[in-house]
C-alpha cells in the first residue's frame, strides 16, 4: 500500500493507506486523531471540517491521494497551528464561557469553519457568518455560535 506524506498540525506524518481513503478517515482511523468528526460522508454537515493548506474543507471529500505534501490543521491543532488570525484560543475560550455547545459533536467543525472565517474576514457580518458557517447543528446552537464569532472578532488577539 502506498505511503503518503503530509503535515498535520505542523508535524510530518507518513500514512500507509489506500489513496482513495478520505482525509477524515486518515485522521480518525490511521492517525488516531478523533477530534474531527464523521457526520454524513457527503460534505453536507461540515462536522469533518479541517484547514487544508490554509482553507476550510470538508475532509470527508478529500482523498488521501490528492493531498501529498499538504498542510492540514485539525481541531487538535486549532490553538497552536491555525495561525494567530484564526483566533483559535479565543474562540475556544468563548465557546466555553458562552456555553455554546449542547451535545458538542458538530462543534469541532463549527470552530474550524469559524476560525477560517475570522482569518479571512476579521470583522464578519451576519451574512458572512451565514455563508462561511454552513454546517449542521442538530441541537440548534446557531445563535450562540454567531454571538461567539462576533465576540471573538471584537476581542484582542492576546488570550
Amino acid at each position: 500500500m502506498a505511503i503518503t506524506r503530509l503535515k498535520v498540525n505542523g508535524k510530518p506524518v507518513a500514512v500507509e493507506a489506500d489513496p482513495s481513503t478520505p482525509l477524515l478517515w486518515v485522521l480518525r482511523d490511521h492517525l488516531g486523531m478523533t477530534g474531527t468528526k464523521f457526520g454524513c460522508g457527503i460534505a453536507q454537515c461540515g462536522a469533518c471540517t479541517v484547514h487544508l493548506n490554509g482553507d476550510a474543507v470538508r475532509s470527508c471529500q478529500v482523498p488521501l491521494a490528492t493531498i501529498s505534501g499538504a498542510n492540514v490543521v485539525t481541531i487538535e491543532g486549532l490553538a497552536s497551528h491555525a495561525g494567530a488570525a484564526a483566533k483559535g484560543p479565543i474562540l475556544q475560550r468563548l465557546w466555553a464561557e458562552m456555553n455554546v455547545p449542547q451535545c458538542g459533536y458538530c462543534q469541532a467543525g463549527m470552530l474550524m469553519a469559524a476560525s477560517n472565517l475570522l482569518k479571512h474576514k476579521p470583522k464578519p457580518s451576519d451574512a458572512d457568518i451565514d455563508e462561511a458557517v454552513s454546517n449542521i447543528c442538530r441541537c440548534g446552537t446557531y445563535d450562540r455560535i454567531r454571538a461567539a464569532i462576533h465576540k471573538a472578532a471584537d476581542s484582542a488577539m492576546k488570550v
Partner: protein
C-alpha cells in the same frame, strides 16, 4: 518521520477459545489511548491524554472498582482537592452531567473550580447493591432537577461533607459541631485552623456516619439557582479531546460497517463473502440473526424493558479500518427477503390510515382516550371538521449510532454513547448471555440523543457482531444512510377533529377527535398533547370524546423528542386556531377564554409571548403573527410540567417563500437550577421543533425509507435562523424545576402554521411545510 500504520504487527487470529489477547484495565487504556492518539508522534494529539479542567481524564467513564481516594461510589476527592463526581445520567447536550455535579456541590461545599465529572460505571450498580440507582433513575433527559433525583445528589454531597468535617474534627480533637466547611476548606471556627478537603479525604473515606445529615433548606442554597455555570466538559469539546462513542480507541480494535434489512422486519437470504474477502483490510463478513440472541433469564432492571430491542436481520463487514469495511460492504452481493412490509408506500399508508379512521369513527369504534359529557348533545350551528397529519421523521443525531464491544467466552466490555446506561447494560447482557458480573459498559459523551439512543438497539447490534469475532474489540459505525433508513421513527399521526361551536360564545360546546397512530409499538403511541390538553380536560368544553386507533405497519416507531406530543400539539393548536377563526375571535383572545378554568400561568404565557411579539399591531401584506401554547409531560395536572408558549412572526412572499422572522417564547417550569442551561434547552427545543415542522418528512417506497442523507433530508442552518427571544417574566417560582427540552419542541410548529394563515389565508394541515404551496400573489 515515523510511519503511522496502525496494524504493523501480525493480526491476531480470533478464536472463540482464545482469552487474554487484549487484557486491558483502565489504567492501560488511558496510556494506550494516548499512544494511539498519536502522542508519540503528533504533539497536538497527545492532548488526548491530558487532564483538562472539568473532566477527570482522557476518557469520560469511571472505574468499575472502588478507587483509593473515593468516599463513595459517587464522590472521590484527591489530595489535590479535586472532587470527582461520578454521574449516572448521560450527557446528551442538556447539561445533565454538570447539573448533577452542581447538585452534589451545593451540599458538599467544595469549590466549583475543583469539580470534575465522569460517568458512573453502571456495572457497579449491579454489583454494589444499586449504589447509583437507589432513589435515582439513571436514564436520559434533563431529569437532573427532578426532586427525587436531586435530593439523592444533595444527600450524597451532604454525607461526604459531614464525613470530611468529622475527619477534620478528629485531627484537631474538637467537636464536629465546631467545624465548618465551605469552598473546599474545613475550618475550626474558634481557633481559625484550616484543612483542605484533600488533606482529610483519605481519613473521611474510613468514617461512617451514625445518621445521614439533614439537607439544607432550599431557601439557603447558595449555588443551585444562583449560579449558571457552563457545561464542565466544553473545553474538551472545543479542543477535540472529548471522547464520544465513535472516538473510542481500544488497542487492537477493528471496524465494522453494517447493513440491516432495507425493509425493516425483512430477512437476510444470502450474501457472497468471497466477493469481498480479498479486498484490502477485510477480515470477516458476519450475519446477524435475531434468533441467535443468547438471551438472559435474569430479571432486567431497565426503565422500558428490552423486549422491543430485538435485532434486525443484518450483515456486517469487519475490516482493519472503517473506510475499508464500508467499501467492502458496498461491494458485497446481498439478497434480502423484504417480507410483508414491502407492500407499503406513501399512498398505501394514507389509504390505510383513512380506513382505520373511518372504522374508529363509527359508533363505539376506536379506543377511548378522553371522554366527558355527550358530544351528541351539542346544538351549535357552526361545525369545524378538520384532518391533520404528520409523517415519519428521523431523530438525525449528529453522531451516527455506534458502539464498540470486546466479547470473550466469559466476559464482555462495551463502550457506547447511550441515553440509558441501564438499558444498554441489560441489552448487552441479553445479547451475549453473560451475567452482570461479567459485563462492563462504559458511557461516553454523546453526539445528540433526542430519544434515538434510549433503547440500545445499537448496543445489541455491536454485541451481536462482536460475539462472532471474539477476543477482538469491534467498533460498529452506522453510516448516515443506515441511520435514516434504519430509524426508530417519530410515530406518524393523523387526527380528525370535529368541534361544534356555541352560537353565542363561539367556544366549542363539543369536541370529538380520532387520532390514528401508524406503527405497532404501543410504547410510542402516546396521548400527550391530545387527551391531556387543558382546553379538553378543564371542563370549559362540556362534551369531549377523543379516541385512538392504529394502523399496524412494519416500520419501527421510536422515541423522538417529546414522543407524539410533538405531533399532537401541532394538530390541537392548529385546530383551536381554526375554531377561533370560525368563531370570528382573535386567536390569542380565544385561547384565553378557553383557559378560564385553568392555571393562570397559561394565560400569563400567552399574554407575555403575544405582547413581546407585537400582537395586534398592523403588519405589512404577506406578514402574519401566530401563537400556540402547550405543556409537557403532564399538561392536565395543575401546577406541573413546563408550560410553554410561542408567538411567531412570518413573512410569506407572493410566490410562497416562507421566512420565519421572530419567535417569542414564554415559559414556566417552576424554578430554575441553572438559568442558562434552561435557556439553552429552550433554544435547542424551539429550533428542533422548527426544523421538524418546516423540513422533516420521510417518504416510504416498497416498504423502505427513501431518503438517505442530508442532501435529501434538509436541515435548518445558520442562515435560516429566526430572531429567537425567550422570556422568563411569567415564571411562577413554584416549587418544581421541571424539564424543558421536550416541551419546547411543541408550540413553535403550530405557531408558524397559524402565522402563515394570518399572513396568507392558507391553512397548512400537514408537515413538513416545505412541501406546502404557500403562494398567495
Amino acid at each position: 518521520m515515523v510511519s503511522l500504520r496502525r496494524f504493523d504487527r501480525p493480526h491476531p487470529n480470533p478464536s472463540p477459545e482464545g482469552e487474554g489477547l487484549f487484557e486491558l484495565n483502565r489504567r492501560d487504556f488511558v496510556v494506550s489511548a494516548a499512544a494511539l492518539g498519536g502522542g508519540m508522534v503528533l504533539a497536538v494529539s497527545s492532548a488526548q491524554a491530558k487532564v483538562a479542567a472539568g473532566a477527570k481524564s482522557a476518557v469520560p467513564w469511571g472505574p468499575e472498582v472502588a478507587a483509593g481516594n473515593e468516599l463513595t461510589a459517587w464522590v472521590a476527592i484527591g489530595a489535590d482537592d479535586s472532587v470527582t463526581i461520578r454521574v449516572p445520567t448521560p450527557e446528551s447536550g442538556n447539561g445533565a452531567m454538570t447539573q448533577i455535579a452542581m447538585n452534589v456541590t451545593e451540599e458538599l461545599g467544595c469549590a466549583w473550580r475543583n469539580v470534575r465529572v465522569e460517568f458512573a460505571a453502571i456495572q457497579r450498580d449491579a454489583l454494589e447493591n444499586k449504589v447509583y440507582t437507589a432513589g435515582f433513575l439513571p436514564f436520559f433527559s434533563g431529569h437532573a432537577t427532578d426532586k427525587g433525583r436531586m435530593n439523592r445528589c444533595l444527600q450524597v454531597g451532604a454525607s461526604a461533607r459531614e464525613r470530611l468535617k468529622s475527619a477534620a474534627a478528629a485531627r484537631w480533637n474538637v467537636p464536629v459541631a465546631d467545624v465548618s466547611a465551605a469552598e473546599s476548606v474545613l475550618r475550626h471556627v474558634a481557633s481559625g485552623r484550616t484543612l483542605r478537603y484533600g488533606d482529610v479525604a483519605l481519613d473521611a473515606a474510613k468514617i461512617t456516619l451514625a445518621a445521614e445529615p439533614k439537607l439544607k433548606d432550599p431557601a439557603t442554597w447558595n449555588f443551585i439557582g444562583k449560579a449558571a455555570p457552563p457545561k464542565l466538559h466544553i473545553p474538551q469539546i472545543a479542543n477535540g479531546t472529548a471522547v464520544y462513542g465513535v472516538d473510542v480507541q481500544v488497542p487492537g480494535m477493528v471496524y465494522a460497517a453494517l447493513m440491516q434489512s432495507p425493509v425493516q422486519g425483512g430477512k437476510l437470504v444470502s450474501f457472497d463473502a468471497a466477493k469481498v474477502m480479498k479486498m484490502a483490510g477485510v477480515r470477516a463478513v458476519v450475519a446477524v440473526d435475531p434468533a441467535k440472541t443468547a438471551g438472559t433469564k435474569l430479571k432486567n432492571r431497565t426503565s422500558f424493558g428490552i423486549a422491543e430491542t430485538a435485532a434486525q436481520h443484518a450483515v456486517a463487514v469487519i475490516a482493519d479500518h472503517f473506510w475499508q469495511a464500508k467499501l467492502a460492504l458496498e461491494a458485497l452481493p446481498v439478497v434480502w427477503d423484504a417480507g410483508a412490509g414491502a407492500q407499503w408506500d406513501d399512498a398505501g399508508l394514507a389509504k390505510g390510515v383513512a380506513g382505520v379512521l373511518d372504522s374508529a369513527m363509527r359508533a363505539g369504534g376506536g379506543s377511548k382516550a378522553l371522554k366527558a359529557g355527550d358530544v351528541t348533545l351539542a346544538t351549535g350551528k357552526r361545525v369545524v371538521e378538520r384532518e391533520y397529519a404528520t409523517p415519519y421523521c428521523d431523530n438525525a443525531v449528529m453522531e451516527p449510532l455506534n458502539a464498540t464491544a470486546l466479547v470473550k467466552a466469559n466476559s464482555a466490555e462495551v463502550w457506547c454513547p447511550t441515553q440509558d446506561m441501564m438499558q444498554a447494560f441489560w441489552v448487552a447482557i441479553d445479547e451475549c448471555g453473560l451475567s452482570p458480573e461479567q459485563v462492563k459498559l462504559h458511557q461516553t459523551y454523546m453526539g445528540g440523543g433526542f430519544g434515538r439512543r434510549t433503547q440500545a438497539e445499537e448496543v445489541r447490534m455491536v454485541v451481536a457482531i462482536a460475539r462472532q469475532y471474539p477476543n477482538v474489540p469491534v467498533k460498529v459505525i452506522w453510516t448516515r444512510e443506515e441511520m435514516f433508513r434504519q430509524g426508530r421513527y417519530r410515530t406518524p399521526i393523523t387526527t380528525r377533529y370535529k368541534a361544534v361551536l356555541d352560537d353565542a360564545s363561539g367556544l366549542p360546546q363539543a369536541v370529538s377527535g380520532t387520532a390514528a397512530f401508524t406503527g405497532t409499538r404501543p410504547l410510542f403511541q402516546l396521548n400527550q398533547g391530545y387527551a391531556d390538553v387543558p382546553y379538553f380536560t378543564s371542563g370549559i368544553i362540556p362534551h369531549v370524546d377523543l379516541r385512538n386507533t392504529r394502523l399496524p405497519v412494519h416500520i419501527l416507531n421510536g422515541a423522538y423528542r417529546g414522543p407524539c406530543y410533538n405531533a399532537h400539539t401541532f394538530m390541537a393548536e392548529t385546530f383551536v386556531d381554526e375554531c377561533a377563526h370560525e368563531a370570528g375571535i382573535d386567536p390569542l383572545e380565544y385561547r384565553l377564554r378557553l383557559l378560564t378554568k385553568w392555571d393562570a400561568v397559561w394565560s400569563d404565557c400567552l399574554r407575555l409571548a403575544g405582547q413581546k411579539a407585537g400582537w395586534g399591531k398592523a403588519l405589512p401584506k404577506g406578514e402574519g403573527l401566530g401563537i400556540a401554547i402547550t405543556s409537557w409531560p403532564t399538561a392536565s395536572m395543575r401546577n406541573s410540567s413546563t408550560v410553554i408558549c410561542a408567538a411567531v412572526r412570518v413573512a410569506v412572499s407572493p410566490s410562497g417563500e416562507l421566512q420565519v422572522k421572530t419567535i417569542d417564547v414564554a415559559l414556566d417550569c417552576g424554578r430554575m437550577a441553572n438559568k442558562d442551561a434552561v435557556l439553552s434547552a429552550v433554544e435547542g427545543g424551539i429550533i428542533f421543533g422548527l426544523n421538524m415542522t418546516l423540513n422533516e418528512g420521510l417518504t416510504v417506497k416498497d416498504g423502505a425509507i427513501v431518503e438517505g442523507n442530508f442532501d435529501e433530508a434538509p436541515m435548518l442552518r445558520m442562515a435560516d435562523m429566526p430572531k429567537l427571544r425567550v422570556h422568563f417574566e411569567a415564571m411562577t417560582g413554584q416549587d418544581r424545576m421541571d424539564i424543558v427540552g421536550e416541551s419546547a419542541v411543541g408550540p413553535v410548529g403550530p405557531a408558524v402554521g397559524n402565522a402563515i394563515f394570518a399572513a396568507t389565508g392558507k391553512r397548512v394541515r400537514t408537515t413538513p411545510f416545505r412541501k406546502a404551496d404557500l403562494s398567495w400573489g
